[in-house]
């Protein structure tokens, strides 16, 4: 059976060009970039090229890119650095719909005595920016950091991070964004928005798992999260994951090239999938603002059926996606994102997230459009909540 992979917000395939560029650095070019000999130094040069490529994708300077092990490490490093730089400030502002990398870190910090504001969102997933501006206006001196995701992993809804970042910068407040889902899907310009720190992850943009980066604006005296050697100019200790860094560099270069295709062809495929599923499956609805959304993401709820069951039947047809439901994750409530948006239980439990990449085709969308209606019907036929 062919696999139709529409779970690219979870992870992506490593692009063949990326793998090809990485391969020598697993074997013959194994030098340590920190070594004095040119055998190692040459690897260092290749890492510098990767740093330039990542920087270009988000309009940063190469020296502002710190390589990490993943998006989660980037997020943790950013928040902990902000707290260390502002030891007297005890207030963190974030949103109610962050990825666990920020959400659970903030909950942990809350237990340690920090005051966290989890800014709510409305039914469409829009951030209540008024609340943030109100707090900034009144208590700017106590805010250590504002951390907001650029785009939501479940719904694709895009936050006005540029606007909030500028207001934060005006007040001298550090602003961090978890841009793991946004990078490579929409244009990002850290300079234009005056962003202090930005997290990105390799495996969401066709680089391998286990590599991420943190953009740290020039001038910030960034204290390292991992302490040890002098690597990354003292901002992240540990021998460089050379092959993966080089892979992330290549993937960033490709992502920049593919931004236009994301915005046009992939958006078109997503819209085709969305329109057809809504038309062919009664009592289905899209979660989140349809306009202000990543071009590759569709979060769609089917009333009166449950996500895990849907996914497992989709699996029988070779279709990979995610659910907004609980049963798959071990927790029992529907996703905190859908709950924060007050999506009714009826559709929240039956929510499926399709997330596309530039590898997807129209034929694949047609296949999904054909496969889904009987799956939903089959589960509704045995659901006590389905009113025919």
């Amino acid at each position: 059976m062919n696999i139709v992979y529409t779970d690219n917000n979870a992870t992506t395939k490593v692009a063949p060009e990326v793998l090809e560029e990485m391969m020598p650095y697993f074997s013959e070019l194994y030098g340590n970039p920190s070594s004095m000999h040119s055998f190692g130094g040459n690897v260092g040069g290749k890492i510098q090229e990767a740093r330039e490529r990542v920087a270009r994708l988000i309009n940063a300077n190469p020296s502002e890119i710190v390589f990490t092990s993943c998006g989660t490490e980037s997020d943790n490093a950013a928040i902990m650095a902000a707290l260390e730089l502002n030891p007297a400030k005890k207030h963190i502002i974030t949103s109610a719909v962050e990825h666990p990398a920020i959400k659970n870190l903030c909950s942990y910090l809350e237990k340690k005595g920090y005051h966290i504001t989890f800014v709510p969102v409305d039914r469409e997933g829009h951030l209540n920016t008024e609340l943030i501006y109100d707090i900034i206006e009144k208590k700017a001196d106590d805010i250590a950091v504002i951390s907001l995701m650029w785009a939501n992993n479940e719904t694709g809804v895009i936050f006005p991070v540029e606007e909030v970042a500028r207001k934060a910068a005006e007040k001298g407040i550090l602003f961090h964004t978890d841009a793991v889902q946004a990078v490579g899907k929409i244009p990002i310009d850290v300079k234009a928005a005056d962003i202090a720190m930005l997290s990105l992850s390799g495996h969401k943009i066709h680089a391998p798992k286990g590599i991420g980066a943190l953009y740290v604006r020039q001038g910030i005296k960034f204290p390292p999260f991992l302490k040890g050697g002098h690597q990354e100019k003292g901002r992240r200790a540990g021998t460089e994951n050379t092959a993966s860094i080089i892979g992330l560099g290549k993937a960033s270069e490709l992502a920049k090239v593919h931004l236009n295709e994301m915005d046009t062809r992939i958006r078109g495929l997503r819209d085709y999938l969305e329109v057809e599923l809504l038309a062919k499956i009664p009592a289905s609805s899209v979660n989140g603002d349809k306009k202000n959304r990543l071009p590759n993401t569709l979060s769609i709820g089917f009333d009166a059926v449950e996500g895990e069951s849907i996914l497992l039947l989709m699996d029988q047809s070779g279709i990979c996606a995610s659910s907004g439901s609980a049963c798959t994750s071990g927790s029992l409530d529907p996703s905190h994102v859908l709950m924060a948006m007050k999506v009714p239980f009826e559709s929240a439990h039956g929510t499926i997230r399709f997330s596309l990449s530039t590898y997807n085709t129209k034929e694949e969308m047609s296949y999904i459009i054909k496969a889904m209606p009987p799956i939903i019907k089959r589960l509704r036929d045995i659901s006590p909540f389905w009113k025919k």
């Binding site: 009166a304 497992l312 049963c327 029992l332 409530d333 045995i382 006590p384 909540f385």
Partner: protein, 187 residues
Amino acid sequence: MWEYNDKVKDHFLNPRNAGEMKDADAVGETGSLSCGDALKLFLKINKSGRIVDASFMTFGCASAVASSSALTEIVKGMTLDDAEKLTNDDIADYLGGLPKEKMHCSVMGQDALRKAIRSYKGIEILAKPGNTICECFGVTDLEIIETVKQNNLKSAEDVTFYVKAGGGCGKCVQQIEKIVESILAQA
């Protein structure tokens, strides 16, 4: 991912006795939309108090569907007295075991069956006895105590896996821990 054995998969992909029974003699319902799973059990009962047919409608994950399917297969042919003694373990055993996190699906089967039988016997089902501990899923202290004892549970996490209590907002987890600890202390 699939953490289910072949029998659970089979009962999910090919559920036995699925669908509404129009002329049921007894109906038992448990769960709700907000909980994420619900089961409506239909029984056909003959004059001598034997279950001659059973069917179900289920909203929920694969193991909820499989547990419901298994339940209907188990109870067909049983006397009401025997069926009343059926436990969630019997359902899980019939399926060759369920992942621990999914044991609440078998508990749902036991609950729906008891409700169906009690309503058939004319036993009024009063509001749940005991004090509500878990607001998210409406679970009382007496239910938690019964489940802990019946299944030899050792932690609050186990309780969540069996009756969901504590699996929502998490506010009651400490209370559940205390209940489990006091039962373990008595044992």
